[in-house]
Symmetry: C2
Subunit: 291 residues, 2 copies
Amino acid sequence: MTSRPSFIQQWHEAAERNNSALCVGLDPEPSRFPAPWTNDPLRLFDFCAAIVDATADLVCAYKPQIAYFAALGAEGQLEQLIAHIRKAAPSVPVILDAKRGDIGATAQQYAREAFERYDADALTLSPYMGFDSVEPYLHYPERGLFLLCRTSNPGGGDLQTLALASARAGGSAHLGDELLFERVARLAAFDWNRHGQNGLVAGATNPADIERIRAVAPDVPLLIPGIGAQGGDLAATVRAARHSFLINASRSVLYASNGRDFADAARREARRLRDAINVEAHAAAHPHPTP
Amino acid sequence: MTSRPSFIQQWHEAAERNNSALCVGLDPEPSRFPAPWTNDPLRLFDFCAAIVDATADLVCAYKPQIAYFAALGAEGQLEQLIAHIRKAAPSVPVILDAKRGDIGATAQQYAREAFERYDADALTLSPYMGFDSVEPYLHYPERGLFLLCRTSNPGGGDLQTLALASARAGGSAHLGDELLFERVARLAAFDWNRHGQNGLVAGATNPADIERIRAVAPDVPLLIPGIGAQGGDLAATVRAARHSFLINASRSVLYASNGRDFADAARREARRLRDAINVEAHAAAHPHPTP
C-alpha cells in the first residue's frame, strides 16, 4: 500500500520546484469569463483548467472555492478540475476552500466530502464551534487544515478582534489582552494540532495582526488572502508572516484580462506576483542596515 | 407577480396548523437505513421522503443537513427531497442546514446555492467572519437566517462562552462580563437584522445560556438542537426560550427504529416530542402557584 504524500510535503515540494509562495484561488464567475464563454455555467471547468495550464509552474498550491461550483450545481466540474490539476500540475496540492464548520457526525460528512469525494489535500474550516468541529478532520492526518483566524474582510473585526477578559482576578482590560483571533491561533496551533497538520487563514489587509498571530503561533502555515483585489500590503505582510506562508490571489490573476488573452494575462500576473513575493521575502530575510 | 411567503409566515402557519414547535432534521446516514436500503447511497431521497410523509402534519419545519448529501455527491437527491416537501407538506418551510460562512462575492454564491438552487426558506450561517459574511443573504429578505450563537456540542464553549473584556476603563473580569455568544446574539438580533429575518442557533444542552440569549435578544426566533440524541433538558429549554422557538430533533426521530416500521416509529417519536414540547410550553406559560 502506497502512502499518500502529505499536504505539507506536496506544498514544500511545489514551493521549491516553482520557487513560489503563490497560491492561485480558483473562483470562477461566469459573468467575468471572456467571450464566448461569458455567462456560460458549463465553462467553469474550461476556464479554470486554462488558468491552471497557464500557471502550473508558478504556484505552490491551487485553492478552488466550492461556492462558485455549488451555486450552479456544478460539483461535477469541480471534480473534473481537481483531476485536471493532478495531471497538469502534479504534486501541486489542492486546498479546497469551503470554510466548513459543523460537529460530530456532520463534520465527518464534510470531511468525507472534501477528502474522499474531492480528494483535496487541504481544507479551510471555521473555528466557531470549537474542538469537536475540528476533531473529525484530524482522522485524515496527512491533509492540511486551515482554520479561519483573522480574515481580510472589513467585518473580520466584528468578532475576531474582540479582547477577551483576563482570567487573572481583578485583571483589567488593557493593550495586552488576548484577542479572540489570538485564542483561535493558539488553540489551532497547539491544543487542536494533534498531528501537526493545522494552519491558519490570516488576511493581508491586517499585517499587524499577522505579527500578533506569529507571536503565539510562530510556525504554523499561514494561508494569506487579501493581496491583489483586496489591496493588502505585500511587503508588510511578508515581513509579518516571516516564513511558512502561502499568499493567495484569485480575482487579480483570473480576471487579469477579459479578452482572448486571459490565460496569458493570468500567467503574467501570477509571475509578477510570485516574483514580487520573492523580492519581499528576500528583503525581509536580508534587511538593509539602517544608517 | 405573486410574492413568496416569508419564512416567518410559513413557519407560523405550519406551527399553528400542526400545533407544533418541532423541526425534524433530515440527516440521512445510509449505514442506519433499514434493510434493504442499508448502506445504499441512492436511497437518501427515499428514506427522507418516507420520514416527511410520516410526519408532515406534526412539524413546523424540516431541516435537511446538506453535508450528508454532499459527502455522497447526492445533491440531486437533496433537490428532489426539497421538491417533495413542497408537495407532501405544503407551507412547511425548509431550513437548509449548511452553516455557511464566507464573504462578499463568495457569500453571494452560497446565498444563490441555498435560496435559488435549493430554494430553501431559511439557512444556517456561521458568524465568525462578521457582518459582511451575513450581508449578502440580507438581499433575500423573505428568507430566514439562523446564525450559530451557542451550539449544543461539548466544544461549543471553546470560543462561544469566552468573556469579553469590558470596554470600561479599568473594568475587571467579572460575572457580568459579556460573553462572545451574547455579542453574536446582539449583533444578529439588532445591528445585522436590517429586515427582521434573523434568528439564532442555541443548543438545548445549555438552557442557562438560552436565558442569557433571551436577555439580549428577547424576540428573535431560536432554532434549538440538542434535544433527543444529545440529551438536552426539554423543560428547562422551553422555559428559557419562552416563545418563538423551533426545537429540532434529527436522529431520535429518523432512527427511532431500524426495521421496516421506521416511518411509523418516526411518526410516533415525532408526535411524542411535539406533545412533550407543548406540555412544557403550557407549563411554562401557566406555572403552578407554589404553596
